[in-house]
């Protein structure tokens, strides 16, 4: 056991940027006595403190585990490289915020994985903790190293490093894993893993053998032991559990410096590029009365003056209008404001935004995603130009000066004409604004680069040729000049890596490790991203980054993540893929079921709850 004395830290804190990242001691942090619990979990976020403390998923798990008297959960984040170096110089292992125990002292170290460009930080954190990187090098004397989170739906590139991976929603699954660890204290690691593999939703990568075809594609993924199932179906909770109302409140300002409550999980719109829309099915809403009560507790327990109402599509929440009316009536006199992410492109959304933004009208954000009607049909973003112009009319008419529009470049079948259409659309929105707001009118357009993701209808699509994307960025840049117009875009270098890691197989473990050993970390941060390290790591492993990122995949190909089942049938994804190529749309599934497979996969869960809680018809 090693607890790092605060006095030791105080010798290095003055030497690093933003030392408040490393002190712990936050309001509502839960500090338990280590001797009173049977299982100890370190919850790790493989990015900076300010990012990690804003993650609601980790906050939910922290709350649940600490709610169990026989368990404790503490938090750790990736130290910025200045602190990483300072820790190594001072020979201080990576420690948790609550009690400053070294990560190696915990029974379980769990990472949440939300973004492929955080992968090297997992190795960085294990290394700083003095824990061997490979699962195969760790026996029962080391903590069990586990992962969960949205990118684990293709966990393969990290298969070498994790002992087990929790597929799906962690609320119940994590507690089952911790119970198992408790019951098997001291058991040989391989025995524990074989038992863990029998928990539904647990994927033990080391118990599977991957065969490759001569062309380099996966031939088969097969269990090597009877305990491991051939397919691992994600876990879900039948309905959203109680909202976290006593979250950790950091002293240091975090990226989302506000309270957060999940009002809805999942999305019914069925955009074909969107991984969240596929992997978080079915849609479950939190009843409005429960939201209002939880917000009351949240505000009293945190002192925040802003609450984010989180969902993938705010405007789709069945009772959004009465909910906002209730919240603002109750809390606006106390100087509380509410934020709504992901508003649908329609006048109703402007009305909702008006309800929550009575004072400040800084800007409204909408995501038409593509410029032309044709391309929006391909991606199943069911928004017409008319919708957008009416939305602009409503927003500028209601007093907003600025509209932000999100687009993607490099979408399947995209042509220069589609890109010209973005510029036309932006200019038309601007013209609407001029009528109402005159010279104050602003339109900010931003274009990210589309990255095909596993478990979506576009999982077979290649990443667009990045030279073409860059040319189109320049095209838009030249077309979106002038007073009140602003254009921003994402750099393509990290896109290529994200696309390769996102749809990679197990062989990329050597690449991730090679890049990390050469110094790659914080790849999501422009100031730290070093593409040359990745190029070297790919070639050292004899692999081609473009083969992973930019190759069209055949429908007959075995995809490396197909043994991980999100409940959405392959047949549904194929049908959606084919419809996209024909330019056919699929309506929102609240209007009618498209048989994606989720209802069949989770029939048992659905029986547990009243009809109508899931937004499936």
């Amino acid at each position: 056991m090693s607890v790092i004395p605060f006095e030791r830290l105080e010798r290095i804190l003055p030497t690093v940027e933003k030392p408040g990242r490393y002190t712990g001691g936050e309001w509502n942090a839960i500090v338990k006595d280590w001797d009173t619990v049977a299982v100890r979990l370190a919850l790790c976020y493989p990015d900076l403190y300010e990012i990690g403390t804003s993650n609601l998923g980790l906050a939910i798990l922290y709350d649940l585990v600490n709610g169990r008297p026989e368990m404790l959960a503490e938090r750790a984040y990736a130290p910025w490289p200045d602190m990483g170096a300072a820790l190594q110089r001072a020979q201080i292992p990576l420690y948790t915020m609550e009690t400053r125990h070294a990560l190696a002292d915990f029974d379980v170290v769990g990472f949440t994985l939300q973004y492929e460009l955080n992968y090297t930080n997992v190795l960085y954190m294990l290394d700083l903790a003095g824990i061997p990187l490979h699962s195969a090098e760790r026996d029962e004397h080391y903590p069990l190293i586990i992962a969960g989170g949205s990118t684990t739906y293709n966990a393969e590139p990290l298969a070498d490093f994790f002992d087990l991976i929790a597929i799906g929603e962690g609320e119940e699954l994590l507690l089952e894993i911790l119970d198992l660890v408790r019951a098997n204290r001291g058991a040989p690691r391989q025995d524990l893993l074989r038992r863990a593999a029998q928990i539904p939703g647990v994927y033990v990568p080391g118990l599977y053998h991957v065969e490759y075809s001569l062309d380099g594609t996966v031939a088969a993924v097969t269990p090597t032991t009877p305990e491991a199932p051939a397919r691992i179906t994600k876990r879900i909770v039948a309905c959203l559990g109680p909202a976290v109302t006593r979250p950790v409140v950091p002293l240091l300002e975090s990226v989302h410096d506000r309270a957060a409550i999940e009002i809805q999980r999942g999305c019914t719109e069925g955009c074909r590029f969107c991984q969240a829309g596929m992997i978080y099915r079915p849609v479950r809403e939190r009843p409005p009365a429960e939201v209002v009560d939880a917000v009351e507790d949240l505000l009293r327990n945190t002192g925040y003056d802003e609450v984010g109402l989180l969902s993938l599509a705010s405007s789709d929440y069945s009772e959004i209008e009465p909910l906002l009316a209730a919240l603002t009536a109750r809390f606006a006199p106390e100087h509380v404001s509410f934020s709504l992410p992901s508003l649908r492109v329609d006048a109703f959304s402007v009305h909702l935004a008006q309800m929550v933004q009575a004072t400040r009208k800084t800007g409204l954000t909408f995501a038409p995603e593509a410029g032309s009607e044709r391309l929006r049909a391909v991606i199943n973003k069911n928004v017409t130009e008319e919708d957008l112009l009416q939305t602009a009319e409503a927003a500028y008419g209601a007093g907003w000066d600025r509209i932000k529009l999100y687009f993607m470049l490099g979408l399947p079948t995209e042509t220069d004409e589609d890109v010209e259409a973005i510029a036309d659309l932006v200019r038309r929105v601007h013209a609407v604004g001029r009528k109402h707001r005159g010279k104050r009118t602003e339109v900010h357009a931003s274009a990210s680069t589309f990255v095909p993701k596993p478990h979506t209808p576009f999982q077979w699509m290649p990443l667009a040729d990045l030279e073409t994307v860059e040319r189109r960025q320049q095209l838009l840049k030249s077309r979106l000049r002038g007073r009140g117009l602003q254009f921003s875009w994402t750099a393509p270098q990290t896109t290529l890596l994200e696309a390769a890691l996102g749809r990679g197989d197990r062989r990329l473990g050597a690449v991730i490790e090679g890049a990390y050993r050469a110094g790659a970390r914080f790849d999501a941060w422009a100031e730290h991203f070093r593409p040359e390290l990745w190029q070297q790591a790919f070639s050292a492993a004899g692999l081609d980054i473009h083969w992973y990122a930019s190759r069209p995949r055949d429908l007959s190909e075995v995809l490396p993540w197909e043994h991980l089942d999100v409940g959405v049938d392959r047949e549904f994804l194929v049908a959606e893929y084919e419809r996209s190529l024909r330019g056919e749309t699929t309506p929102d599934c609240r209007a009618g079921c498209h048989r994606c497979g989720v209802l069949r996969a989770f029939a048992a869960e659905r029986r547990l709850i009243e009809k109508g809680v899931w937004q499936c018809p």
Binding site: L251, G303, H335, T359, R360, K361
Partner: protein, 229 residues
């Protein structure tokens, strides 16, 4: 034009001055983060903190003078404005349960609403500097030399920006003291609109690496000779 819903709100009716210390984790965040921690504590208590008018209302809280990140404070001051009368004793009694443990309240006093802004009253600050490594043997001589100098041209480096100024007039007092067997450097440094000296500046001017020392702000000197601390 959108109309602020708070435009018709009355002006604050109560102003309280809090004397407090800052320690532990709270020393390692910026004064903006510290201020936010106070606002959250007051909101958790449900106290009627006043907000500024306008389209972007913010809580009316006024810190005497920010502490540098990494420096703890033993006698700091801030003013709070409320929309209703708040009993200073009640505030003093209730704050500890909701205030971040990195802050300790020493006293709360009622201040006339029209008293001058707190930051404008600060003229100097007192610090004690601890030496984490044995200081140079001739430290006393160096301090003497510093005080005897007519002027001390000094260049302060902060995030690639260098500013040069005369440090000497900003040092009001510098003295070595023994405290519980430990040698400390006690400083009184000018703190005002024309400029301020930081303890690190003096330590550097003495030829000592500032990272080998730790400064604590022990008090503030207010205009008209009033001293806190």
């Amino acid at each position: 034009m959108p109309v602020s819903p708070h435009a018709d709100q009355p002006n604050p009716v109560s102003r309280l001055r809090v004397t407090f210390s800052v320690h532990g984790a709270a020393c390692y965040v910026s004064h903006l983060d510290q201020t936010r921690a106070w606002v959250r504590a007051l909101r958790r208590l449900g106290l009627p903190l006043a907000y500024s008018h306008g389209f972007n209302p913010h809580p009316r809280i006024s810190v005497a003078t920010p502490l540098a990140v990494g420096v703890c404070g033993q006698r700091e001051l801030l003013d709070l404005f409320f929309d209703a009368w708040v009993d200073p004793h009640e505030l003093s009694r209730r704050l500890p349960s909701e205030l971040h443990p990195g802050f300790t309240v020493h006293s709360v006093d009622e201040i006339p609403l029209n008293a001058p802004p707190l930051p404008s009253l600060v003229t100097a600050a007192d610090y004690t500097v601890r030496f984490l490594e044995p200081p140079p043997a001739d430290l006393a001589l160096r301090v003497e030399g510093l005080l005897a100098a007519e002027s001390l041209p000094f260049t302060r480096l902060r995030q690639d920006k260098a500013s040069t100024f005369d440090l000497r007039p900003r040092i009001l007092a510098a003295e070595l003291v023994q405290h519980g067997g430990e040698l400390l450097l006690a400083l009184r440094l000018v703190h005002g609109p024309s400029g301020a000296a930081r303890p690190d500046d003096v330590v550097a001017a003495l030829g000592i690496e500032p990272l080998a020392t730790r400064a604590v702000r022990t008090g503030l000197v207010l205009a008209e000779g009033r001293t806190v601390g």
